[in-house]
Chain length 225, copies 2
DNA sequence: CCTACCATACTACCATACAAGTATGGTAGT
DNA sequence: ACTACCATACTTGTATGGTAGTATGGTAGG
């Protein structure tokens, strides 16, 4: 484990955890991959203890599945969990954007606007990875502006399943322009305090994530439960 | 660690985890209590390793706070987290009970009814602890009947903070009759598929949890952040 | 050729020893 | 009396050896 990385994360266990989580959510470690404490301890150059600690945390979030005395593997994407995550996000994001339409800090509104500018940039440069991050940031800023940061963090738990399907979908059909347009309209609705409009767009925005799930299950059957 | 308990939970680590979690949420271990791996390993008669594993899991849920090289203590109740948990539950429970009004399995509806009967029983017997469990069960059945079990589980994370305040409140003012009446009305609304009515009662039901927070902070200041 | 068995090489789980950071109380020096 | 220092007894973090359960491949027996 690199020293800089350790300092950033505070402990070896946290560093391994963050590294693995990033790789799992980005599908760098595809669903079904077997992990094993020993193997990871060798690649990260730490003992099995911090690796085991990271496995415990990942299992708690449903990102890996630990089978006692048999092995540990990256959890398959659960279609039901994907739909539930979408459901949760729809309800909470609709409620939050209504709050945002009532009152939203000016500086956070500015953050949204600069985020949109960066989105345009990333689309022009065909930088899908950056665009995905900006998408996440856009919604996170909405939550934070409404003082609902903890809610956003809680959503992230189940979001792991949803996000992995979103990445799969974007592999097959990068439809960034459509997403950007929705983001822009939501920004304007918040700025002009049009709650009903904002909620409606958000509802459609969230519905996008689920429509193509059957297609993905057919194209990547080995990734799904 | 008792052998029966170990068999029930699968591993020593899980057993310690479940035990501590139950004690924390029930305020048997009050907020601020220092824990220490060594101490717990002695009381549970296991080594530090499974105890440490349980600490990691509890920290992941925000139930304990681990300060490296200094100690571990039961996390104080965070007022902001309590309000956010209430917010999350309100949005999700409103959406779920609307779904329930559209369609709800007959056997689960029967479960709700028998749950209500048990609630009456527990109120007569002044069994607050049992009543609290039944309250939780009532809402869990609603989620499960709508195939939103994962959503319920996710809520539980943040619910730890909310539930601890609810217990404090019920220590000072056991108002079980009022809660029972709301539960009964929600049951009838679901049965008669009156979505708007059900949502309205649920909204009031969720609002109860937050009103007396300032009073509790004044009465138990050492429990809050 | 097929089947039952067993040695072997994995796995996660647990106990233990050591390392490193921190709080605390006593003591020497001013 | 007060302050600076340090030994000591804590704490969590990490490394490692051993245990028990499981999958697998080869082998002996039918």
């Amino acid at each position: 484990m690199d020293e800089r990385m350790l300092q950033k994360s505070g402990s070896a266990g946290s560093a391994v955890y963050q590294h693995l989580k990033q790789q799992i959510v980005s599908l760098d470690l595809p669903p079904g991959t077997t992990l094993s404490e020993k193997e990871m301890s060798l690649t990260f150059q730490v003992s099995r203890t911090p690796v085991r600690e990271s496995f415990v945390r990942l299992a708690q979030e449903g990102l890996v599945l630990v089978l006692p005395q048999r092995g540990t593997r990256v959890s398959l994407i659960d279609s039901d969990m994907v739909e539930e995550a979408r459901f949760m996000r729809e309800q909470l994001e609709k409620a939050v954007i209504r709050l945002a339409c009532e009152s939203f800090p000016a500086d956070r509104l500015a953050d949204l606007e600069s985020n949109l500018t960066e989105q345009q940039h990333s689309i022009q440069q065909r930088d899908g990875k950056r665009m995905f991050e900006l998408d996440e940031d856009f919604h996170r800023i909405l939550f934070e502006g409404c003082r609902k940061r903890g809610t956003w963090n809680t959503i992230q738990q189940m979001n792991a399943h949803l996000n992995r399907t979103r990445i799969l979908w974007l592999w097959t059909d990068p439809h960034w322009e459509h997403l950007y347009e929705q983001h822009r309209q939501m920004f304007l609705a918040v700025k002009q305090q049009q709650a009903d409009l904002a909620e409606q767009i958000m509802k459609e925005h969230m519905s996008l994530n689920i429509a193509n799930l059957p297609v993905l299950k057919e194209r990547y059957p080995e990734y799904f439960k």
